[in-house]
Symmetry: C2
Subunit: 155 residues, 2 copies
Amino acid sequence: MSETRWLDEDEQRTWRTFLWASQLLHESLDRQLQRDAGMPHTYYMILAMLSEAPGRSMTMTELAQLVRFSASRLSHAVAKLEAQGWVCRSRRPGDARTTVAALTGEGFAALAEAAPGHVEEVRRVLFDRLTAEQVGQLRHIFDAVLTNLNTTDGC
Amino acid sequence: MSETRWLDEDEQRTWRTFLWASQLLHESLDRQLQRDAGMPHTYYMILAMLSEAPGRSMTMTELAQLVRFSASRLSHAVAKLEAQGWVCRSRRPGDARTTVAALTGEGFAALAEAAPGHVEEVRRVLFDRLTAEQVGQLRHIFDAVLTNLNTTDGC
DNA sequence: GATTGACATTTGAGCGCTCAACCAATAGGT
DNA sequence: ACCTATTGGTTGAGCGCTCAAATGTCAATC
């Protein structure tokens, strides 16, 4: 057990700035989508991922990996989305274990209607305030963070 | 109503990388603190802010502004922290409106015990993978985001 | 000395998430 | 064929958060 390497003043400030900013950012995103489209940001992601898949449908497990959800979290979420009529689940013929989630017409319509406002919000809270150079830096920084976390953590 | 300025391929990838990474990052932080200290990351922040205040105590409103919580959110949180014996609330003499939240000895001890593990985790998920230059970039990027959101949004 | 408005805080319902437990179907070894 | 482990998915309890409403207090005005 070695001595703790505390954050120096600069790191401390960087850390807190990042924390507050990303918190505000997520809240803004969530509020905008909840207000204008009646869904939280995470649900939007699920619909978006489904819409990009061939046949607008995927296995629960595949979907869970794509959106980085636990099986449980996805199950709860899709249950809600199904109750709203935006997604429908069905057993895959040939393999009675796996469930396939498919985007419905209504679901696609809801997504299409929500998309422009969401993209605008993403620009407003992030890209509009950044130079092209900073966007590149941001990408590299979080690529590094992501590969780190992906390899070290279990999920 | 103008045409939507969709995200180009690069922006799209940057955006998703950032989303996944920051999500994983927050989850890691939360899990570590929950596992090792029995509190979520947000509660750690509350204790940390209190510990830095003169007298280790602050008005609820001041505290709410510091941690960027709504009054309601803070009230719920502090209620839990009080139930755990880490914080105690009392009316301020002279002004019966405002409540002062103070860190207890137990609260300070819990914080002190949680701190090293938390700092290590922060290094692990973020700083360890970044060059000094990237840390500077990160700071500038989220400074920009923060001032933007602080001025445009209500909260 | 009541009335109005603004402030500081709390409360309760509802929702999304986590975690652990569970069920059902399949694959592998014997 | 039979048992076991693994895989795919769901469920329920508990918790933190949001949002809207309620409560209680001070400050100014009439």
